[in-house]
Amino acid sequence: MSLEDAFADGPAFVPYLAAGDPDYESSLKYVEALERGGADVIELGLPFSEPIAEGPTIQNAVVRSLEGGMTPTRFFEFVEDLDVSVPLVCMTYYNLIYRYGDESEAQRASNTSGETASNGPRPFVEKAAEVGIEGLVVPDLPAEEADPLREACDEFGLDLVFIVAPTTRGDRLDRIMEQVSGYVYVQARLGTTGAQSSVSDQTGSSLERLADYDVPKAVGFGISSGDHAERIVASGADGIIVGSALVDIVAEGHENGDDAETVADRLETLARELKDGAVAGASQRPPHPERT
């Protein structure tokens, strides 16, 4: 199923977890629980050592995952081992994409100078397509620098999702919307990722600015309950992205030493609440929102 198809039947629920958090086997169970809870698309974080766009919650998840041995190679194995049918989106930072498969093992063995060139983003995208990933989100890659990645994604049939901030307007918005495919990630407020108790009123005006663009709009940053999800969808979002609230459950389970099945059940329960909230929100919208 393509990403756009996942948004075709009502509002899409797009949960995020860092792959391998806190360990490989538990993380497989957690991601599968999200699908049981009603996920329409799943964003999987491939952890980078310097996650500059993340708040403390996801930053800590990244640390746990890296300490658990997660690497790009392990990440692709993880995706192959996952038993889910909804489309998967890989969220990571550009350096990992840029450096992947930069040279063969044989070249490495004979290379003593440290002069390693990168082949650019193509090998990463090729491998991602091979293991069945449908799209990429790269928070530190602005549209201006995205041409090589966009070309590789086109070649291998991946969508490239971009983030639109409350401060994104005018020409910048146009440039991003020319590059985006799958869905656009609407950042609900300024700052880094993290669960918040209230939903920002910046969301509504962001959605208004995007109304003319014909691509699904998924709102993320700070959604933590079914009630939030409902209000966001009622205000016009085509989907909701939830990360930190789910990662909190993983972190708490890890700290308390809870077994993976228990944690997976909690994730499924919150996922269900969020999905139900999103569906309830959709019923409050006019059936054919006017595009002006």
Partner: protein, 422 residues
Amino acid sequence: MSADGKFGDYGGQYVPEALMPAIEELTDAYERYVLDNEDGFMDDFRARLRDFGGRPTPLQRADRLSERYDREVYLKREDLLHGGAHKLNNALGQVLLAKYMGKERIIAETGAGQHGTATAMACAHLDMPCEIYMGERDINRQRPNVFRMKLNGSEVNPVTVGRGTLKEAISETMRDWATNVEDTHYVIGSVVGPHPFPSMVRDFQSVISEEARTQATEKLGRLPDAVVACAGGGSNTMGAFAEFVDDEETALYAVEAGGSTLEVDEEAGVAPNSASLTTGTEGILHGARTRLLQDRDGQIMESHSVSSGLDYAGVGPELAYLVDTGRVTAVNVDDDEALTAFHRLSQMEGIIPALESAHAFGYLESVVGPDAPDSADADGLGEYVVVNVSGRGDKDLESAIEETYERDIDIAPNMDEFTGGL
């Protein structure tokens, strides 16, 4: 440099979307105020560097080093700038620019604490609220600088994630900026980060080479054969080199921290050095494409240097470009050589240098010292050498003395009587 801030393939603007409007606003302000001197900004800046900062700093002949190395050795005395390091040039420029832009709050990261103290001084001078992010480990290594920042009225926010050094502090400051971007300016401390920072910081620091070029010509009636500066992120390096880049007859040496070894422990993700120009590979970190210490997957490695101001896994994109094109020669000096040079300059010239700056002197000793092997590098330095003393060593006294004891540095004075058997 092209209009989009590229140096060859290096540079660029790899930042979260939420920061892009601020970066565009800053780029516009940089072009108007710094490049075009709108509202007399640069005149104001230069006047403050003079009256508040104490510029120009001298270019001093190092008599005993000249004798030791059998050539003319001159010192560009950035250690005499207010605050004791070159850092004020940049901090004052950026805080003043933020003021002209109407920003109401300053944030900055700091490693050794030199950039943090310079920013705190500039903020007090220009009446701007200031918060400094500093790794917890660096806070412990550089306590006097923490006190200086607090005394100047700044908040100091400890960063506890990761290893608690400069790269974590930069990431944390970027997060603050992404949250408070509308009223806050991020004073980045080196020629790193997204465009326009590498160019703008170079322009504020290039007063070093502008003065040195004039002073050097006055002293001996000609340009120096070589300029030597230490390189971490590269702000004193680019400052010392910028006005000489077009003078092909002047060789430029960037001296990196060789740390304990240039060998890398991939398994542990540790590079026991900070020599990204010498051993790094191309990648993207903190907003720019440049040369980095990274593992084969592209994860950033923990760097190391006895000098916390050089302890960074990346380097400015323009400096990386100048090394790739052959204009700048990247060399390195290990921890022991730097410490020895620290003692030598203290004893022979009466100048206690920052451990960062000591690396530049370590390089001189390694190629033209009494024990140096005959090599082509000695010819490269020529007969007339300018060394940038980027900062003074007061901030390093405690760690320098501790490290000296651990390493058994030959020429160090015996201080057993006074150190309580460290």
